[in-house]
């Protein structure tokens, strides 16, 4: 049956619109990045010279290995830190567990470069703690380089491991463990031989997300790498460099970045996708009864990890209310930093609010229909749509932005210099999340409801608009708020794409970082934190934790 039946027209229409959008603003720019990396100086002939040049440079080769080492190190540490935490949260009595869970999800939405910057303010060369240590005669150099970056990534990305692992620990059927013990295995051995292997796929899936996030991150290495070359940062520098920019070399690094993330993503999809154990728990595992000292230890560990992860954010809020004279902080309370921040202009704040709102609406308007087509109409078209909608995930913001500029700074469609290109970049980057989130909501809505509506005489399109969307509304709003808070603090594509009047709050902070405006930077960071935490706190009930895990 090749003929397209009438029932397929609706998903087909969605698919065509989605392909058009993603084709124009994702695949075409990516193609141009590839193109730039494979073309000679005249832009007409195919060449491998760019790759030969970049890969023979020990500096750029170093950026590749640094990024990979950083990714691997951070992944390892988040797993080492996250799995015990997940186990404690799943199986041990921890006081204040629901508050703890809410706090633990915050690092996923808070901007990680803010944490990096906080680390600089505390432990950097002129950092508060550094100076204190130095003054008390304790030798301490500073936090820059691999150490600092690994610490920040571990502290901000561990929830990527914790939430899937927590779900897996909870989904284990206790009878599996009991069977292990019944066969003569000790509790400890049972954990290692039965429990852990069952949750391992979920842990590794989370770990791969960490790996991808680290490789793609621009802000954290920009703040903390110092003289260590890192792929995303070097690609940015090559592209916007003082010497006029070098799209070919930037393109090579961009392609290397995509290759790294794509491989990680493919492993995730095809290896882990198959190995997932079916965990249809009949009996949820009960909390374990353990000795009081162990319970206390678990509580201290759980609360400790989560609170320490939030310390940088607290610190920067406190610092933003301190008086700065030049780069030097003085321990006096003051609102000067905020005055300076807004004295420059209100525009960045307004830009952040309006553009993020536009992006959140647009991402939902595109993501929800795609999620609908993917879940409700299984066909080759929807499978392809699924793959394409997940592609932005494998593309670092820096690379996407470079592609967008190469593609739309001249020709039939010029977008550079305006606000739309920012919104488009953000929307493209958030489509995977929006699609996943709406698919997750749809899985909980019985398809026979839609059939009942159609059967009663309402067309499929109107059924989607008048029945499905209202039923999804809670989830859609939750997804929009999460999109909003994450694009409001998006850095990696924003710093490449903004221009003149369209600078956002993150750009102001970024510029303040580059100069010595630590006061303004910390004030901007505080504004970003407030804009993240407040909306999430307001709609926390609408969110489900696995959605946070998908950001």
């Amino acid at each position: 049956m090749i003929a397209i039946s009438r029932r397929d027209t609706f998903p087909l229409a969605i698919a065509i619109l989605a392909f058009a959008f993603l084709g124009l603003f994702l695949l075409y720019p990516l193609l141009n990045v590839f193109g730039a990396s494979f073309l000679d100086r005249t832009g007409t002939h195919f060449t491998l010279a760019n790759y030969a040049r970049m890969l023979s440079s020990s500096f750029y080769l170093g950026s590749l290995s640094n990024s990979l080492i950083l990714g691997a190190l951070s992944t390892l540490l988040t797993i080492v830190l996250g799995v015990p935490l997940a186990f404690c949260l799943a199986r041990l009595p921890i006081p204040g567990k629901s508050l703890l869970l809410a706090l633990a999800s915050l690092p996923l939405v808070l901007p990680s470069f803010v944490a990096a910057y906080a680390l600089v303010l505390l432990l950097g060369r002129a950092g508060v703690i550094t100076r204190f240590l130095r003054d008390s005669g304790i030798p301490f150099t500073s936090i820059y380089g691999m150490t600092g970056m690994t610490i920040v990534f571990t502290m901000t990305l561990f929830p990527f491991v914790v939430f899937p692992a927590l779900a897996a620990f909870k989904a284990i059927d206790v009878s599996v463990e009991e069977a292990g013990q019944n066969l003569g295995s000790s509790r400890w051995r049972t954990f290692w031989t039965v429990t852990l292997p069952v949750v391992m796929p979920a842990v590794l899936a989370g770990g791969l997300l960490v790996f991808i996030d680290v490789i793609e991150s621009f802000g954290v290495p920009f703040v903390l790498a110092e003289d260590k070359p890192i792929l995303a940062v070097e690609a940015y520098k090559l592209f916007v460099g003082e010497t006029g920019g070098n799209p070919a070399s930037a393109g090579v690094l961009g392609v290397l970045l995509i290759v790294c993330t794509a491989i990680a993503l493919l492993i995730q999809r095809y290896y882990l996708g198959r190995r997932r154990f079916s965990t249809a728990a009949r009996r949820a595992p009960p909390e374990l009864v353990v000795k009081p000292w162990l319970r206390r230890l678990a509580s201290v560990y759980s609360w400790g990890v989560v609170l320490i992860a939030l310390v940088p954010f607290f610190a920067i809020i406190v610092i933003s209310f301190m008086e700065f004279r030049g780069p030097v902080m003085h321990p006096n309370l003051s609102l000067d930093n905020f005055r300076d921040l807004l004295n420059q202009s209100w525009r960045p704040l307004i830009n952040t609010l309006t553009l993020s709102t536009a992006a959140a609406i647009m991402a939902a308007a595109i993501g929800v229909p795609i999620g609908f087509a993917i879940t409700r109409f299984r066909s080759r078209i929807s499978d392809l749509l699924d793959v394409i909608a997940m592609t932005p995930f494998a593309v670092a913001g820096t690379v996407l932005a470079i592609g967008l500029i190469i593609s739309f700074n001249s020709g039939w469609l010029v977008l550079t210099g305006g606000w739309l290109i920012l919104v488009i970049a953000w929307v493209v980057r958030k489509i995977p999340f929006n699609v996943r989130a709406s698919a997750a909501i749809l899985h909980q809505i019985d398809p026979s409801l839609e059939e009942a509506s159609i059967n009663l005489g309402v067309s499929p399109l109107m059924t989607f608009a008048r029945l499905t969307v209202p039923l999804m509304m809670g989830g859609i709003i939750g997804g929009m708020v999460l999109t909003w808070v994450t694009v409001a603090s998006e850095l990696s594509s924003t710093v490449v794409l903004y221009s003149g009047p369209w600078a956002t709050m993150t750009v102001v902070m970024f510029q303040a970082l580059e100069s010595t405006g630590a006061g303004v930077a910390s004030a901007a960071a505080t504004v970003l934190i407030v804009f993240t935490v407040l909306p999430v706190a307001l709609i926390y009930r609408l969110l489900r934790r696995h959605e946070l895990g998908m950001m």
């Binding site: 059939e451 009663l456 005489g457």
Partner: protein
């Protein structure tokens, strides 16, 4: 019509004609294609071949929302974001019926399903049986050409199931609406239907009135699927007047039917048609009789299930009213009789 999924022929060359106002049931084991057949009528599954008509009008070319069928789903599919009244009014709104009329028609149909006072309730406040009624009311109110019901009672407990089936049948009779009802429960099918179509692996086995399906099954599959039966295989030894003499092991059975001498046939003899004979009692005229050893006895209160062993290799199930196991066990050998007209012979 036919409908295939890849190589699976879910509905395989089925042809049916259903009368106006008829209660028609599709009956068969799970996976035989009943749901698929129903969904092709509603338009949720495409036809691979064939046509569907309502009267003269061909409908398989129409999109599902323009077919004017009323489908009652197994899980009711009540819209959770609408009240009971909103659910019932849903189809009328889609048809742009004026607001006053909607009110009146909703009230009328809610009265019909005994939910007069429930219009403002929310679905989560209702019980399973009440949701079931809302689902039916929601379909009835649009006055569909045909009511399609896919195992609507399977989510209810046993007692409610019996109540609801009487209620659905009564509604259908009262409104004289055409209904196609899917079930795998043969008792439900027998109790409710005007006609039953027994399906097996996508094909029709038999289409007939309940009593004919039960008493004169067209195939051994139908005989076994409709309640319990004794399905025996034997050889035609000759004729005795009108009847065939069929040899099974050492025992010979008389049966009404047509088959040539020496032909191998199977036949069905229902347990409840076999009558146990008391000591010295003679069988009614025209009946066949045999002697057997008593096998297992299962006392179920009103009826007693008995297994009789004839010769070495033939076992017959008998269901008898009002017999006590001890009485039977005291007898040793048991005499029993059967009516040859109640035996159905299958050739081949």
């Amino acid at each position: 019509m036919s409908r295939s999924f890849g190589t699976v022929r879910a509905v395989d060359d089925v042809s049916l004609e259903i009368q106006d106002g008829e209660f028609f049931t599709l009956l068969g084991p799970s996976g035989c294609g009943k749901t698929t057949l129903l969904r092709t009528i509603a338009g949720f599954a495409d036809l691979s071949a064939g046509q569907i008509r309502f009267g003269q009008k061909r409908i398989d070319t129409l999109p599902p929302h323009r077919r004017n069928t009323g489908m009652v789903f197994q899980n009711y599919a009540i819209f959770p974001n609408l009240t009971v009244g909103g659910n019932v009014a849903y189809g009328l709104k889609a048809r742009s019926v004026p607001e006053v009329q909607i009110k009146e028609r909703v009230a009328r149909v809610l009265r019909l399903v005994h939910l007069d006072t429930y219009g403002d309730r929310w679905p989560h406040q209702l019980s399973g049986g009440q949701l079931q009624r809302v689902a039916i009311a929601r379909c009835l109110v649009i006055e569909p050409e045909v009511l399609l019901l896919d195992e609507p009672l399977s989510n209810l407990d046993a007692k409610l199931r019996v109540e609801m089936r009487a209620e659905i049948r009564e509604l259908q009779q009262q409104l004289k609406i055409t209904a196609i009802y899917v079930t795998h429960d043969q008792e439900e099918a027998l109790a409710m239907s005007d006609r039953i179509a027994v399906m097996r692996a996508g094909k029709l086995e038999q289409v007939a009135r309940p009593q004919d399906i039960y008493r004169a099954p067209a195939t051994p599959f139908v005989a076994e699927f409709m309640g319990t039966t004794n399905l025996l295989r034997g050889t035609v030894a000759g004729r005795a007047g009108e009847a065939l003499r069929i040899r099974v092991g050492q025992q010979e059975f008389c049966a009404a039917g047509k088959a040539g001498e020496g032909e191998s046939v199977s036949f069905s003899l229902r347990p409840e048609t076999i009558r146990l004979l008391g000591p010295g009692e003679t069988p009614p005229t025209g009946w066949g009789a045999f002697e057997a050893r008593l096998g297992s006895v299962e006392f179920l209160g009103a009826i007693t299930r008995i297994e009789l062993q004839i010769g070495n290799d033939t076992m017959l199930r008998v269901a008898s009213l009002d017999v006590l196991p001890d009485e039977l066990k005291a007898r040793g050998r048991i005499a029993a009789a059967y009516d040859p007209r109640r035996i159905t012979v299958f050739r081949g």
